[in-house]
């Protein structure tokens, strides 16, 4: 790109106007090195969320303490919950000599003070760049008496310069199984279906999965289950380990009767591990957002377990359909721009299409080429999806250009989208992670039939609110 294209633009007004132009969009899409407002975090944050889902598990960052502070802050702000995590506070001397001494001392202190049932160690990029050997270090820490020899420790390599937070979730999940699940004996199963949520910062979603699977009469374990860590009751008492999947059920995971993964892209490695290495009946579904995706989820459960879908869920489905039909005129034909994690986008796109909404721009910073194909297939299956642009590896400054040159009616994404929405003068419906400027959204499910009702309600009412807030007095009326 030529840096002289706009050297003549002096006045701020001119530049502000130019930022909205097709010419600028082209230039913006041609940038190669600069990333502006990327919609992705780094691996260890995902690893942390994953580790929070095991009962009595203390997340432990092997690396700089600043990283741990940042991960905790970000999760605190979205969840409005405590997030216990320690770090072994590596500094310059570790950069020179490696982080083993910090890990040995850190494990000892953490074990004694916070009395965890297990520790999940994951790396920050500093430890990765200097090439710390976690396997050896942890063995040495055990030998040095930092923790008892049989004390469970899972560890994952989570370099921040590879993938994103969803990769980190995946790596930690696989590490939990590899480190702490006894190998499958193959002759028997524990009779339970293991439900794997993937990177999902909605405790409401996790509760919904458990409710739906239980309604099917299927004995299940959610692994990992961060529901309580993400949404613990106020009792006047702080519990550092508010709940989660019991250690015994993690240890027994590879004897499951089946595994169902609720997300595809945040579980790529774990899914392969479970399916190929352990030969367990394993399914992955599209995140059940909307009616069709929820149907497919329940049918997958039915197929895996032979349990029929109960009448109760059929009625619930009917109510969700009713809500969709009641609200469809407010959504049909409206144009949407979406951004977020790949699994979320895949589910949401299916939902919008079934409502007659038109996805116009999909920006997925941490998407892959496979994701592009998968979401294109979803779009191609509906006439409402035919003109949608899918932008993989792009960021929210690309999104801004898209919104300015090809306007839409609504932006859907996390709180970071609020500047885009304001510039484009459209509403933002907050879905995804992190949501830092609204309360309690993460407590309401966006998955399952109830989630579909919630989404329909949020989106339709936002459009209706917008009419009320912007229409002239003569068009201001009681009914909408």
């Amino acid at each position: 790109m030529s840096e002289n294209t706009c050297a003549y633009r002096q006045s701020k007004e001119e530049v502000a106007e130019w930022l909205n132009s097709p010419e600028y969009r082209e230039m913006n899409f041609n940038r190669k090195a600069l990333s502006i407002n990327p919609s992705k975090a780094c691996q260890p944050l995902g690893a942390l969320l994953c580790a929070l889902g095991i009962e009595g598990c203390l997340p432990f960052v092997h690396g700089s303490q600043g990283c741990a502070a940042y991960f905790r802050n970000t999760l605190n702000r979205h969840l409005r919950e405590p997030v216990p995590t320690v770090s072994d506070s590596m500094t310059e001397d570790s950069a020179v000599f490696g982080g083993q001494a910090n890990l040995i001392e850190g494990l000892k202190n953490a074990y004694q003070v916070y009395k965890p049932q297990m520790i999940a160690v994951f790396t920050s990029c500093m430890a990765e760049v200097i090439g710390d050997d976690l396997n050896a270090f942890i063995a040495n820490a055990r030998n040095a008496g930092s923790v008892p020899r049989d004390f469970p420790i899972a560890f994952a390599q989570t370099p921040s310069f590879v993938g994103s937070h969803i990769t980190g979730w995946d790596n930690m999940f696989k590490a939990l199984l590899q480190s702490l699940a006894d190998p499958r004996h193959g002759r028997w199963t524990n009779g339970r279906l293991y439900v794997v949520p993937g990177f999902d910062a909605y405790p409401g979603n996790l509760r919904e999965y458990k409710r739906l699977v239980s309604a099917m009469g299927i004995p299940m374990t959610m692994l990992p289950d961060a529901t309580e860590a993400m949404d613990s009751p106020h009792t006047g008492e702080y519990r550092i380990y508010p709940g989660g999947t019991p250690m015994a059920e993690l240890a027994d995971a590879l004897n499951a009767s089946g595994f169902i993964f609720m997300q595809r892209y945040s579980t790529v490695g774990s899914y392969k591990f479970v399916k190929n290495v352990q030969k367990i009946n394993t399914e992955v579904v599209t995140m059940p957002i909307g009616i069709n995706n929820t149907d497919k989820f329940l049918m997958a459960l039915q197929e895996m377990t032979g349990k029929p879908i109960p009448a109760e869920l059929e009625k619930e489905r009917g109510r969700a359909v009713d809500s969709a039909i009641d609200a469809h005129p407010y959504i049909h034909g409206k144009r949407f721009a979406l951004f977020g994690d790949p699994d979320l986008l895949l589910g949401l796109t299916g939902f919008l299409l079934e409502m007659g909404g038109i996805p116009a721009h999909i920006v997925c910073t941490n998407g892959t080429e496979q994701f592009r194909k998968d979401i294109q297939a979803v779009l191609d299956a509906s006439p409402f999806g035919k003109d949608c642009g899918v932008h993989v590896g792009r960021d929210l400054w690309h999104m801004r250009s898209l919104l300015m040159t090809e306007p839409v009616d609504m932006l859907i994404g996390d709180s970071h989208g609020k500047f885009n929405a304001k510039d484009a003068n459209i509403p933002l419906v907050r879905i995804g992670f992190p949501i830092m400027d609204r309360v309690n959204l993460h407590r309401s499910p966006i998955v399952g039939y109830q989630g579909a009702i919630n989404l329909v309600t949020m989106i339709a009412n936002t459009f209706i609110d917008q009419v009320d807030c912007t229409c002239p007095d003569r068009l201001f009326e009681l009914m909408r």
Partner: protein, 486 residues
């Protein structure tokens, strides 16, 4: 029990030692030096600070990157700040310090942005210098009105040995704007604090005194160490301008590159956050003979003291106006006190924050009849504690880099009425039933500085303490339910 209630809120060395006894012996000894209980008549107690955090213990501390980008450079609005390295550091420091700024996004305000070189494996293997070069060109092309670029290096950049200094120098020449390399890798130092120092040095070397203003005046001052969180700097400027002073620069809330470049021309530097910005004030004093004065704009008592302290540097015109400002706001502040003091009188507060607040806000609490019985800093140095001890009462506890465990245990034993700390502590203490305010970010409220801030501060403390929601925690049908606070 009665005895305990009498002692409520006050600390003793025995309490501290009991809490520390949970640690391994070596850690116990180390941590004991970081915690002190102020004894009667002791003006300056001994406390160890600015030392490494103990590995494996939960700390609230951040890193040099957080200090340099998150605190100092981030609020400079017409500059693009590149988080150079993997995506995370830039992402987590994106928009989270509530630095408000005037301006048009993408034109003369880049504060709400996250610019990063988003390192991938290839960059780690081959180095990021080429990418940085191209990236600077792209910044200038896409944002032609940008006034400067800072290159904030993350851990890997330092570890792989990239030469951001020479790239910055070269690109600065090519693009005709200052490009400032900031060596703030997170592994440097032991907390945010080194990042502040590094950032101050970068400003000194690359920006300060690089430009002359045509119109220096006798009442020109700089407001230093105010990051305009929730509009703090705007509230502070209001007082200073009413005093007749001309605030030419803010460092770095709502700041511009030009402000940093021309700051050597003012008559007086007014410093609020001493910890993060004392370095540059000392430099300007040595190099340009500009005197500097610490002030405190939290709560009417300290504001009044500070106004007079600042006015004393100027002539009678300013001093008269200063008195007029005090006279104008005194009754307004009294009305705030009259409204809230009856509800807040006697309440005990424990603080744990960074920068200036562990001591600066004490006066504001006292104006409301509240007492600070414990305080501590995330990343203070000895000079911060020297400034803090005289403000604390007897039998109060002062803790440096307090761990989550220690803080929770102190609170359990001292049972304060209100806790002021950060987001990482907030939900822990709220779960325990303690009223809480985030004192880094004002809990999404603010401003808290100056006369505009005090009514908001008072209201927010009252909201925290007097909320009927605390009363809901007790389960009414459980007769034996553990009595929760309130």
């Amino acid at each position: 029990m009665a005895e305990q209630q009498d002692l409520k809120g006050y600390a003793s060395r025995a309490m501290v030692d009991e809490v520390l006894s949970a640690y391994p012996e070596k850690v116990q000894k180390m941590r004991a030096k970081h915690i002190t209980v102020k004894e009667e008549g002791c003006a300056s107690c001994s406390i160890r600070s600015n030392a490494k955090t103990v590995p494996g213990l939960m700390t609230a501390r951040g890193c040099a990157f957080a200090g340099a980008k998150g605190v100092v450079f981030g609020p400079v609005k017409d500059m693009v700040h590149i988080s150079h390295g993997p995506v995370g550091c830039g992402y987590y420091s994106w928009g989270n310090r509530r630095n408000l700024a005037e301006g048009t996004l993408g034109v003369d305000n880049f504060v709400p942005f996250q610019f990063t070189s988003d390192f991938t494996e290839g960059d780690i293997v081959y180095g990021g210098d080429k990418k940085l070069e191209q990236l600077c060109r792209e910044v200038k092309a896409l944002f032609p009105t940008v006034k400067g670029i800072s290159v904030m290096s993350e851990c890997p950049v330092g570890l792989i040995g990239d030469d951001i200094e020479s790239v910055s120098k070269r690109m600065s020449k090519e693009l005709g704007i200052p490009i400032v390399p900031v060596r703030c890798e997170g592994f440097r130092g032991i907390s945010q604090s080194l990042g502040h120092h590094i950032a101050n040095d970068a400003i000194r070397d690359h920006l300060l005194a690089k430009k002359e203003r045509p119109d220096p005046g006798p009442y020109d001052v700089s407001l230093i160490g105010d990051y305009n969180i929730g509009g703090d700097a705007w509230a502070s400027i209001k007082i200073l301008e009413e005093m007749g002073l001309k605030v030419r620069n803010i460092w770095t809330g709502d700041a511009t590159v030009e402000m940093l470049q021309t700051a050597h021309q003012v008559k007086l530097n007014l410093i609020h956050c001493y910890r993060s910005m004392n370095y540059i004030c000392k430099h300007m004093e040595e190099e340009y003979g500009i005197p500097w004065v610490e002030f405190n704009f939290f709560g009417p008592t300290k504001i009044k003291e500070s106004i007079r302290k600042i006015a004393a540097f100027f002539d009678e015109t300013i001093q008269e106006k200063a008195e007029a400002v005090i006279a104008k706001y005194d009754p307004l502040m009294q009305a705030v006190i009259d409204k809230y003091r009856p509800r807040l009188e006697g309440k005990k507060v424990m603080l744990y924050v960074g920068g200036l607040r562990p001591r600066h806000v004490i006066g504001a609490y006292e104006d409301l009849g509240m007492e600070v019985v414990g305080t501590g800093y995330e990343f203070a140095h000895k000079d911060d504690y020297d400034r803090t001890f005289p403000m604390m009462g007897d039998n109060t506890v002062i803790y440096d880099d307090v761990t989550a465990f220690e803080f929770e245990e102190f609170v359990n034993r001292m049972r304060p009425d209100l806790i002021g700390s950060g987001i990482k502590e907030k939900y822990v203490f709220e779960k325990m039933g303690y009223p809480f305010r985030q004192m880094h970010s004002w809990d999404y409220s603010g401003p808290y500085h100056a006369y505009d801030g005090f009514p908001i501060f008072a209201r927010d403390m009252d909201i925290a303490l007097s909320s009927p929601t605390w009363g809901l925690a007790k389960v009414p049908w459980q007769k034996d339910a553990k009595e929760v606070r309130k």
